[in-house]
Subunit: 234 residues, 2 copies
DNA sequence: CCAAAGCAAGAGCACTGCTCTCTAATTTGT
DNA sequence: ACAAATTAGAGAGCAGTGCTCTTGCTTTGG
């Protein structure tokens, strides 16, 4: 007797998982560019052509790994998150979780936030998992800005009219309840966070920054300040 | 009659240049991962093995392209730089030059600031050209902080002792004449600048930021503020 | 002027992604 | 329960890759 879905279907999801596991191992060991379908199949004791029943191309395998990586990072950040703490602490915690995950999974981080594989465009399916960390940060800012004591990040004085229009275009779909300048600062901080992590990960800080842990904590704190999570202490 | 170095030597540098040119064309057209030694040789009408007389491996060709890219970016930033303007304007100009170069040369930007090629570690020769933009930014900050009116970026209050030690370790070799907290802010701004550019370039801002030009200018302005290039206007 | 060094060419190895055909097993419809 | 349809795996094969080695030829330097 077989289960509702039949033995074949179950074998399929098992093999699919095994392929992804082995592919992830090779990814972690060698990097995305050296991930080889044939090597994965070889390691799994199957012939390479059989693998194409599960993933129609190498790019499809990579897409699956990308989605998993986004989810892994998102889950890591969500787990680390302490919703009860104050906004500043929450912000730092999430940022450090992102950095920690990146240091633990450098090749997967490179896969999702490094240069995209040429000719490869991420399908729509990657969007929701990719947004998880961003949503977390938005949530922190949202909670924080219930407190009227907090500073609003100022728009640069120079080109305020343009900047205000830009910020207004930016805000609505993303976080309608937050002031436009906060959303702007948030998006910038989001990108800058990945700049910090990427530079550390890809070796740009070698021989420049020694105590990277402290440096990152400090920089993340400044980002929080930019988003207006820190009360102005004059 | 041949020149001092002989015809053979001249042919060598010509062929070397032709190889790099063709490689750069393929890089721009297809990206680093699809750059093929054989294709370069084919396009140049020579056989692939002949190419190894000029570049002992594909990685060496890539290294040459990386150095050229760093130099191209550095020169672009230095050309755009207006040493006579005020620090804020100088900062913005250099940042926008970096962004512009990145948008014009996406694959070359990905090559130098994206995920490193697996197993590839940049040789020492890449360090000086890679530092050009950084030195430019340091110079701007140095000039700016001759003005005592400018704000010093504050260290985060939370962990000031650690942060001060970190900043002190960071400063000496980089810019001994600048206050440690400025150097810290500078290094962070440097990384964050590349986070902003990378996110735009690699599509992370799709459907999020529409007016990217204005957004970037604003964010770069905030970076300048973080480095203390803007007088505090209370 | 002749040996030494530098060069292009070709063949070849081990590898890659991917397609095709063929066989065997399993699921499904009647 | 049995035939039909679907599906998994195996193998051969194609076009491409980086790279090495050997073979002649040309330029160079003593």
């Amino acid at each position: 007797m077989s289960t509702a879905q039949g033995a074949r279907a179950r074998a399929r999801i098992e093999v699919t998982a095994a392929i992804k596991d082995e592919a992830r191992r090779q990814l972690a060991a060698e990097g995305a560019a050296r991930l080889s379908l044939r090597a994965v199949a070889r390691e799994l004791g199957m012939v390479s052509s059989a693998l194409y029943r599960y993933f129609p191309s190498r790019d499809d395998l990579l897409t699956a790994l990308i989605i998993d990586a986004y989810d892994s990072l998102g889950e890591c950040a969500e787990t680390a998150h302490e919703p009860a703490a104050d906004p500043f602490r929450r912000w730092i915690t999430v940022c450090e979780a992102v950095r920690g995950w990146a240091l633990d999974h450098p090749h997967e981080y490179a896969l999702i936030y490094g240069s995209p594989v040429p000719g490869y465009t991420a399908p729509e399916a990657t969007v929701p998992p990719a947004a998880r960390v961003g949503l977390l940060l938005i949530g922190i800012a949202r909670d924080a800005h219930r407190d009227p004591e907090l500073a609003r990040p100022p728009l640069a004085d120079e080109l305020r009219p343009e900047a205000e229009r830009m910020a207004a275009d930016l805000a609505p779909d993303l976080a309608p309840d937050l002031p436009p300048e906060v959303v702007t600062a948030l998006v910038a901080a989001w990108a800058q966070l990945y700049g910090l992590v990427g530079f550390e990960l890809f070796g740009q800080f070698n021989r420049v920054v020694e105590d990277r842990e402290t440096f990152f904590r400090h920089a993340a704190g400044q980002l929080a300040r930019g988003v207006g999570l820190v009360p102005t202490t004059p």
